[in-house]
Amino acid sequence: MGTGRLYVAVAAGGFRRYATYRAATAAGVFTNTVFGFILAYTYIALWAEKPHLGGYDEAQALTYVWVGQAMFAVMVLGSNGFEADLIERIRTGDIAIDLYRPADLQAWWLAADTGRALFQLLGRGVFPMACGALFFDLALPTDLLTWAACLVAIALGTVVSFAIRYIVALCAFWLMDGAGAMQLTWLGGMFFSGMLLPLNVFPGALGELARLLPWSALLQAPADVLMGEADPLSTFAFQAGWAVVLLAVGRMIQSAATRRVVVQGG
């Protein structure tokens, strides 16, 4: 099997793994939709108090809410993705088996995570977005090109999301228990991705800092591209830059970590 086909097969496996749990997907969609409604009303109140807050009008703020709910599962902002599995494999030593497989560890998990993201975009992203568009006035683009640009931004965002979580998972080589690291990442991601509030609503220097960090590639970037608030090309460059840097850091940690592996038994 060619290398390319191998990773496509792994990605398809990642897709199928999540597609199997239909009831869980429906439940997730339901929860995202409920949270979308709650957030939408708080944003309406906020923007009624101060129109054009952060440069958004009310329709854009509401669009942001529903893009956020659609990206929640795709970008793994609320729970754990593959990293819980990988950490468990590192802790139990199963990672040794993964390492002598004729496939690259990082590329393997990236492929699997891409399959997952694709499923969650279709399974958990589309419905909340449609629901939001049905009940609220959203600022959605009418030309296909902007939608396509948004899809590119989402794709790049999932790579950044993966790269961050891969680094976190590899910490388990040193920490053994990844729970603390995962919790910290989750906290950081929740705050700096703009899941709580759009990053352009953050006051002053905090807002500027948040916009420079990699987490802004996950939600703020696709949302701004969709609403025409950001130039697509420079957004892609920003996202791709972080993706390359974080993947490279992950690779360095990986090579340092694999030198540490001691396979027990004989």
Binding site: V34, A45, L53, D177, M190, F191, P203
Partner: protein
Amino acid sequence: MAETEQVNETRATPGSHSSHGSRSPQEAYGEDLWPGPYGPYSRLRDGLRAYRMIAAMWIRSTMAYRASFAMTAFGNFAATSFDFLTILLMFSQVDELGGYSLPEVAFLYGVVGVAFGLTDLVIGSMDRLGSRVRDGTLDTLLVRPAPVLAQVAADKFALRRLGRIAQGLFVLGYAVAVLDIAWTPLKVLMVPMMVLSGAMIFGAVFVAGGAFQFVAQDASEVQNSFTYGGGTLLQYPPSIFAKELVRGVTFVVPLAFVNWVPALYVLGRPYPLDLPTWVAFTPPLVGAGCCVLAGLVWRAGLRSYRSTGS
């Protein structure tokens, strides 16, 4: 809540748990949990006793790793602070939200934070029931001589959830300190009343959600819409939400009785729906009613349990 436990599920014969490979602490206490005589309250006493023992066991096991406990408790505190951080960020841009000032929103937030935190501490593991149903490990609980609800509620009892309560108490303390209202003895008494009744209402939602998981299994996340979603909803003043939504959480799933209805009386504000004033004092009754209903739903759910396998 353990009080609602009424279920007479399969009781194991004293010897049957020896058939299980692993010896759990509950089994070690098995003899103590097999008391006679059966009075009307013996079931409740059994439940509370089992709950206390299991929870104590989990606390001991947590305290074996004190540093880890400190970190996770802090993590819990920090994670739950995010909701209030959002509100603070909002108020860094505006002075009022839906006509409510920051201290007023903080009061709503604090009450629901502590109430939800108490429920989360006491029976927060209920949302793990779905995975137990799926992999069949609920069977183990059924054969133990203690009420299943008490066992499920105490399962993985996590003291770190004190972090959430502490965070809610901080915000509530801040709100009470800076709120500009004429405190009467009645209004002061209403604060603990709201917190305790609120915990009962949330508890009922958790237990009913647990019962739902017997049917839903994989769909356990739906429960989060009502627990965490409800908790988030109640952090904001009712004036910002659509009337239908407010009606829904007042009359259908009575979450509004956790804080909105009583707290708006304390704050001296009108409730968006036309309710008489005395309704503000009914949360304990609503809480008790919810617990009875949740107990019935739980009983029905447990009866419908058919282990796993094909």
